[in-house]
């Protein structure tokens, strides 16, 4: 175990972590906030569910503020939080980027981004108080001066707006800059909270960064070392924006709040599990990032492995962060790759083709991609989970770009009934029963089962029974980034993977990547098709088939 894990298992460290004593946390599955720590706020009552948790005074510093993500997701999410009254008075936002901007220019950019992309209605009053705390610091990541200016800027915000020395740093930058930014934060003293003074809470420092968490086990460890030199593990937030907290909680609620599913959630009934994330887009302008990374590292390592863990894990003893993580780590450590990787994996590269009525380029013709690139844009792997519950039940994971449509889902495919008291012709159109958890779009659950076709002698055919979250709870789900930012500002990390989970996922993927590097190259598939023939062959060999996308 690394030092990170020791800490992780122990929860808030005994040496008074940044927010020990002030933390109000809710278990991921529970609806009522639970007050912990020595200072209980008498105004908070777990039964009073109208009062949401609100972040304490703080500054959010975003690096890479000119990027798409910052404009389309982060800034609107900040506004939506403010509009819902979840940001503290005096909350301040600092942008850092290589632009010759003044505070006003950045405020204008934020304003436009919010107006265009925010989920909740635009209110001048909310914007006015938010914009008073918007600052911009121009500079490069190599520029010591710029970071010193940033340090001055946040210090003056503490004075002017009472943000109390609490800073969150959001690294919305390519991963190669992570070490540089983190070192600069260390050098400029931004990463170190000042010594505690009597009567005041210890200020906190938190850092947020997005996947990819390295590109193999070794680099993930190196990245973790860089981070842990500067930030303690409980201050590091790893974010997978594909996997919103809502989705995770929906899966947990479905599995563990019901009695209906648990009895059949095992090898006795399940034939196999398919976990899919399909994208209809190509790599767009992300060639620099994508080339050499590929679909498996980009999506399977984090997103699909997390979905697998949530599907396959045992019931946690409680829904607090540590119990949940313990179960996920347990099941991830039981994942085995197939013995013959040639038969148990498939990969592809999209070729030119027609997608959704539009002619599109092939991967090798995309700008910035070498004509002989071996990067895969489609990956399918078969995994086994060596536990009593899942022995002999394969988990098939697949992801790809330029597939017919955008969707992610977890499909539990059930065994066929051991005996059908019908004539073979009656059940010709009967497939396998299935329970499908749709992650996106149109989040919900589908159950597929056989039903008699009306007015025939006796004919059984598959029908679907559907539940959509959007139908029973319209408009109530906040954007994933809202939940995520609020968790960071409150200091509530339970559902984000800690370093150990990241390492376990890489341990699964590394042998596959090594095998691929040494054997052959990705098989082309036309854009707009469902993937390369080898992926279909993978399933056919075992008498199974992918669900149609």
């Amino acid at each position: 175990m690394t030092s990170a894990d020791t800490e992780a298992a122990a929860g808030p460290p005994a040496d008074a972590g940044p927010d020990a004593g002030q933390q109000v946390s809710a278990g991921p599955g529970s609806l009522a906030p639970v007050i912990t720590g020595p200072v209980a706020n008498p105004l908070r009552d777990p039964r009073d569910r109208r009062i949401p948790r609100v972040a304490g005074p703080c500054v959010l510093v975003i690096f890479g503020v000119t990027g798409d993500l910052a404009r389309k997701k982060l800034m609107p999410a900040i506004y939506d939080l403010a509009n819902r009254g979840l940001l503290p008075p005096g909350f301040s936002l600092v942008g850092f980027a290589r632009r010759d901007w003044a505070d006003e220019d950045f405020a204008q950019v934020t304003h436009d981004a919010v107006k265009e992309h925010a989920r909740t209605p635009f209110r001048d009053t909310v914007w006015d108080q938010l914009s008073e705390g918007v600052r911009f610091v121009p500079g490069e990541f190599t520029d010591d001066d710029a970071f010193d200016k940033l340090a001055e800027c946040v210090a003056s915000l503490d004075e002017e707006r009472g943000t109390g020395g609490n800073y969150a740093f959001y690294l919305s930058v390519p991963p190669k800059f992570f070490p540089l930014v983190v070192k600069q934060l260390k050098r400029s003293g931004l990463a170190d909270p000042p010594a505690p003074s009597a009567g005041h809470p210890v200020p906190w420092r938190r850092v947020v960064f997005e996947k990819p968490f390295g590109h193999d086990l070794a680099s993930a460890r190196a990245l973790n070392e860089t981070l842990s030199e500067v930030f303690p593990p409980h201050s590091v937030f790893r974010i997978d924006h594909y996997l919103g907290k809502e989705t995770v909680q929906n899966i947990l609620a479905l599995r563990f709040a019901n009695t209906l599913y648990e009895p059949i959630w095992n090898r006795g009934y399940v034939d196999h599990v398919q976990i899919t994330m399909a994208e209809d887009i190509g790599i767009g302008g992300r060639a620099g990032y994508y080339d050499g990374i590929g679909a498996a590292r980009d999506v399977i390592q984090n997103h699909l492995m997390q979905l697998l863990a949530l599907t396959a894990m045992e019931e946690p003893v409680s829904f607090d962060a540590d119990s949940l993580r313990a179960e996920k780590e347990k099941v991830l450590s039981a994942v085995r790759v197939p013995e013959d990787l040639a038969l148990g994996t498939a990969r592809g590269q999209y070729a030119a083709g027609w997608q959704g009525g539009i002619p599109v380029r092939g991967f090798l013709e995309e700008d910035g991609i070498a004509a002989d690139s071996h990067t895969e844009t489609y990956a399918a792997i078969k995994l086994n989970v060596d536990t009593r519950r899942w022995a002999g039940v394969p988990f098939y994971l697949r992801t790809g770009k330029r597939l017919p449509r955008r969707m992610s889902e977890i499909a539990m495919m059930f065994q066929r009934a051991p005996h059908l008291p019908f004539a073979a012709t009656d059940t010709k159109e009967l497939g396998q029963n299935a329970l499908v958890i749709r992650v996106q779009p149109d989040e919900g659950v589908t159950v597929r089962f056989g039903s008699k076709v009306p007015d025939t002698a006796m004919e059984v055919r598959d029908v679907n029974m559907d539940f959509a979250y959007g139908e029973s709870f319209t408009e109530s789900s906040p954007e994933a980034y809202e939940r995520l930012l609020l968790d960071v500002l409150i200091g509530d990390p339970p559902l984000f993977p800690r370093h150990r989970e990241v390492e376990l996922s890489w341990k699964v993927l590394d042998p596959i990547e090594e095998f691929w590097a040494e054997h052959g190259k990705p098989e082309p598939y036309p854009a707009g098709s469902a993937g390369p023939p080898s992926a279909d062959e993978l399933m056919r060999r075992e008498g199974r088939a992918w669900r149609r996308l």
Binding site: V24, L43, N83, G85, D128
Partner: protein, 315 residues
């Protein structure tokens, strides 16, 4: 789709809703509750509108019960709106004559099966929400003390007849304030010795905040009168000086505390649809409301006495 049915029965209303749903291409499987609105002809438009907006968050069947001309002979007219304003469906039920006394006999067959029922009185609250026929069939009963002629007396009456499942929109209105105050108390502060809640005259939400603070903190909070709009300030007297939140314009609140810069935060007043949407988010009894309203029994003994014999907050 709008359907008018004159001199009708619940059976025919059912039939009409079902046919409308079929024609629009889907059953009403996603509906999560039935909202019964007890209203009159003048107030029904605003109430139904707010409910239709709230239905975007909570798809539901809205049954607006409108009693007309109690002296006429019994008659039921229905106006059905399906697929007009969003995911829910609305039925306006106009009841003439003695039928108005038996509204529950019309409402009961029209409730969505196996889902919760909420009854809402947008106007003057009834004497005994849980005891009225339309309140008795609901598990949540929403009143609005602010609509009463004497809101403070009304709170006393609601306290006297409180049953788990009762709630009041003047309590819902306090949520943003209470959220802000709770967040302020999350930060270190001196020992609180008392405080005040300042609002325009006859604002039941201010009374409720003062009561909530008194109950939670165990020290008295007074209410004082200002020019409004709504609640204008909450002040804590602490051992480290005064902590105050003022909101003179009903939009932006200013937080002041000794030794710290002034901070602003948007704190706007919400419309009825938003209040209703918050109310419908949880359908189990709001115990904190029950505890907050309980002291009104002893605070205003005269009013309670009045309401017990039915004269305090008569409809």
């Amino acid at each position: 789709m709008m359907i008018d049915l004159a001199e009708t029965t619940t059976g025919r209303i059912h039939e009409a809703i079902w046919q409308a749903r079929q024609r629009l291409g889907g059953p009403a499987s996603g509906m999560v509750l039935t909202l019964v609105i007890v209203t009159d002809e003048t107030a029904q438009y605003d109430a139904v509108r707010a409910a239709s907006e709230a239905a975007r968050e909570h798809p539901m069947r809205v049954l607006a019960v409108i009693t007309r001309r109690p002296t006429a002979s019994s008659r039921l007219d229905a106006e059905i709106r399906v697929g007009e304003t969003g995911p829910g469906e609305v039925v306006l039920l106009r009841m003439y004559g003695p039928l108005g006394e038996h509204a529950d006999s019309v409402v009961t067959p029209l409730l969505m099966p196996d889902t919760p029922v909420v009854t809402w009185w947008p106007g003057i609250p009834p004497d005994l929400p849980s005891g009225s026929p339309l309140g008795a069939l609901a598990q949540r009963r929403i009143t609005d003390a602010a609509a009463a002629a004497e809101p403070h007396d009304c709170l006393a009456s609601l306290a006297a007849h409180y049953r788990p499942g009762d709630t009041d929109l003047s309590w819902t209105r306090t949520t943003p304030w209470r959220t802000l105050l709770a967040a302020i108390m999350d930060q270190p502060h001196g020992t609180i010795s008392g405080g005040t809640v300042e609002a325009e005259a006859g604002n039941p939400s201010a009374d409720l905040i003062a009561s909530w603070l008194s109950v939670r903190l165990g020290i008295p909070f007074a209410t004082t009168v200002s020019g409004g709009p709504g609640i204008t300030a909450v002040t804590f007297d602490t051992s480290e000086g005064e902590v105050s939140v003022t909101r003179p314009d009903g939009r932006v609140a200013i937080l002041r505390r000794a030794g710290q810069p002034e901070r602003k935060v948007a704190l706007h007043r919400r419309d009825t649809a938003e209040l209703l949407a918050e109310e419908l988010r949880r359908l189990d009894p709001d115990e904190v409301y029950g505890e907050t309203i309980a002291p009104f029994l002893s605070v205003a003994p005269a009013a309670v006495g009045g309401s017990l014999d039915g004269s305090g907050a008569a409809p």
